[in-house]
Symmetry: C2
Subunit: 449 residues, 2 copies
């Protein structure tokens, strides 16, 4: 026990290596497959990624040093705090033995965990002599994180933003432009993929699949450019493990060991970030922490999907990866947690769900916003809609322990703040939010990620 | 010298007392005057404020203990970091002897320094048995800080929001409502003041003066309600001194003493917060730090105003205070730094400007946004337009030292982030931002605070 509320790690104790869960998987990850159905080698990824990141993608080393120049940038906002949710605990009427802590990633300049990997990716690309990074974005969370990282390292950033979001959600675009990124409404006439779409449908609202195609094509065609992805891939999950590495040290400061670690899952990177280091800790016999992945019922990849090879994108530009998937043509309903609207999931997270090392649960949108508002009024911080899934499950875990008369320490990842999501809160506040069944009619807002 | 970048104070070292500069003024503050021209006593403020805050308003004690229950809430986001602007220094080509640090108040749940006093005010009102707080807001920064504080302490919050902002800037309103506040478009038909306006002009866009009248009336007429103000008053400046108290300890960690402390000034509270403790430090002979207040050229209260008694609001609901003022009927142009559009200034800040202890300078809007974008691209954080004034002046101080071949350590207050101000950045990015002369025609957007 401690009488502290916020556990801030000394900068000098910030982890200096990422944890690579590939070293500790029950069995090696199934390899990605190319268009011909054969495993693809690192060299096939070279037009898109620098060799350092490709090697991280396939590395079996347990710890990979974080370059000093990356730490220099990360420490402008890291270590992020672990906070005891004292007021929330009181509001829930929890007994003394039931505690809730959260690791708050909204302190980054983008307001989410995304810069943890954007900064690393920008660094390795800069080192490789790359001048420009291309990427796709829907509502703009990833695009803004990469734009910030690009600005910090002096890299040009070109973002293909789904047209319907470009038109309807200008604030994230203004943010990216302020950091110096060029942002295009996709489909554009800058790429073959975009022109092809526009010829068929000049009024196309775009889609994330189209935007990926454009970003990849733009990178492949420019020898000074590479492509950057914000989740799903192994090296992205690797970069996020600093979240959990820090949290372990901070929970030691708190004198508590989490019985369960909770995070939301879309592509899987913030979940991997906080959960993988605790997976290692459990392997080492230092804890028996459960790992709980929370996804939306509107897109229940881990709880209702199949574990099989599938494409990473709708258009088929990416390799096939073995993962939980709802099928690459599945179009999730237009929930406000746009970052969780992905048909597949990180192959690493998927493998550990398949092996039974990670649990998964699915929750509805309205109950998530109810939890988010309760959290905001208790703790002051307005959560991102994605993070509200973790809050819902964390509260439910705590209430179940209270009900059962058991002690329990819950740690969840508050992956970002909701300052860019106020129209979603307005919809909830005015009673205009609805739940979506997984089998519901696909929604037009398919690219809100 | 230190090889650290971010200086995070241990929670255990967080200051436990506010510094009251009234104890160290060259001469006692001139008293506020009532409608009859006579000094008003504490009892006349009792319908609006709890006695603890009224006593703080007039206290001559040098240090006032922060209640433990306030510290409990503050420590969910405090101590706020001091960060060395390493990349900005490199981008400016500064020699090793010229350094820039910033104290970052955007880590609060409202994204600005405002909760530092909102939390304290909510606490004292709660202690006094008050059930509801009323206030006015323009664009919503203060209203959202008070809404958060109200939620944390279980107080009802009623916000009179200038109608034109209520209609045009819904996001801050959604934020306040999410924290449980009731927000009215002012003028309302809930008060005599509002009805009086609506009878004359049913389409009135409202004004901050009208909103103050409504909030004060609503508080006076409800024995369970009080009124809360976000700047200008002595107790508000007092609560903000935790900023400077922390900064002194953090600069000691950094091994540097600031030669100049810089902050923007509207009503004066963030400036007072960082500057007053350094004023004390200079009095004690521990430093020779200059204190530089930065205001917009569109509203140059300290640099072009008169030091005299004036009303705090346009409508004459408030006492007269001795302060620098442009006249209570002055309507500043519609610059995006809405929080700096105030005709007067804190009487405490004014007294120390008059005595020569504080310097003041005025800067233009466009050069502030230029500095803000340069800062964002170097340091990652998008500044609030208000804070950009401090950045402009801090950069100018550093460049002047470089030019002169002198060593200089600059510390400025980054009072908030700009995530709610992206339309202002869009205006700058697209070249649609203009400067306003002080003498320019009053602008229609008069209530953007």
């Amino acid at each position: 026990m401690s009488d502290r509320r916020k556990f801030v790690l000394d900068e000098a104790k910030m982890p200096t290596a990422w944890y690579n869960v590939q070293a500790d998987l029950p069995e090696p990850l199934a390899p990605p497959l190319g268009p011909d159905g054969n495993p693809i080698g690192p060299e096939m990824l070279a037009p898109l990624f620098p060799m350092d990141l490709i090697m991280q993608e396939v590395s079996q080393e347990r710890y990979i040093d974080i370059p000093g120049a990356v730490i220099d940038v990360l420490r402008s906002y890291r270590p992020s705090p672990v906070i005891r949710a004292e007021q929330l605990e009181r509001d829930l009427g929890l007994p003394a033995g039931v505690k809730i802590y959260y690791k708050y990633e909204g302190v980054s300049p983008a307001g989410s965990h995304k810069p943890n990997t954007a900064i690393a990716q920008a660094y390795y690309n800069k080192q490789a002599g790359i001048k420009k990074l291309t990427t796709e974005t829907g509502a703009g969370q990833w695009g803004s994180a990469l734009s910030i990282a690009g600005a910090l390292y002096g890299l040009e950033v070109e973002v293909f933003m789904v047209k319907v979001s470009y038109d309807q959600k200008p604030y994230r675009r203004f943010l990216m432009e302020t950091y110096g990124a060029s942002v295009h409404a996709s489909p554009t006439n800058l790429t073959d993929a975009g022109r092809h779409i526009l010829e068929r449908d000049p009024e196309s609202p775009g889609s994330l699949g189209i935007a990926i195609s454009e970003a990849v094509e733009a990178a492949v065609k420019d020898e000074n450019a590479h492509y950057a992805l914000g989740s799903v891939l192994n090296h992205v999950c690797l970069h996020q493990t600093i979240i959990g590495e820090e949290a372990i040290l901070q929970m030691e400061m708190a004198g508590d060991e989490p019985d369960v670690v909770v995070a939301c899952v879309g592509g899987g990177s913030n979940f991997a970030g906080i959960a993988f280091p605790y997976f290692k800790r459990r392997l080492d016999g230092k804890s028996s922490t459960r790992l709980l992945a929370v996804e939306p019922k509107a897109c229940p990849t881990l709880t209702a999907g199949e574990y099989r090879y599938d494409l990473g994108d709708e258009a088929g530009m990416t390799p096939q990866m073995k993962m939980y998937t709802l099928g690459h043509e599945f179009v999730p309903a237009g929930i406000h947690a746009g970052g969780l609207r992905y048909h597949g999931d990180s192959p690493l997270v998927s493998a550990l769900v398949a092996s039974g090392d990670i649990e998964a649960t699915a929750v509805n949108q309205v109950e998530c916003f109810q939890a988010a508002v309760q959290f905001a009024r208790a703790e002051g911080i307005l959560p991102a809609p994605e993070s509200s899934h973790a809050i819902r499950a964390a509260i439910d875990e705590a209430l179940a322990a209270k009900e059962a008369g058991e002690d329990k320490t819950v740690l969840f990842c508050l992956s970002g703040h909701g300052h860019f999501d106020l129209s979603a809160y307005e919809a909830y506040n005015s009673g205009n939010l609805e739940d979506f069944d997984y089998a519901a009619t696909p929604n037009l807002c398919a690219d809100d990620v």
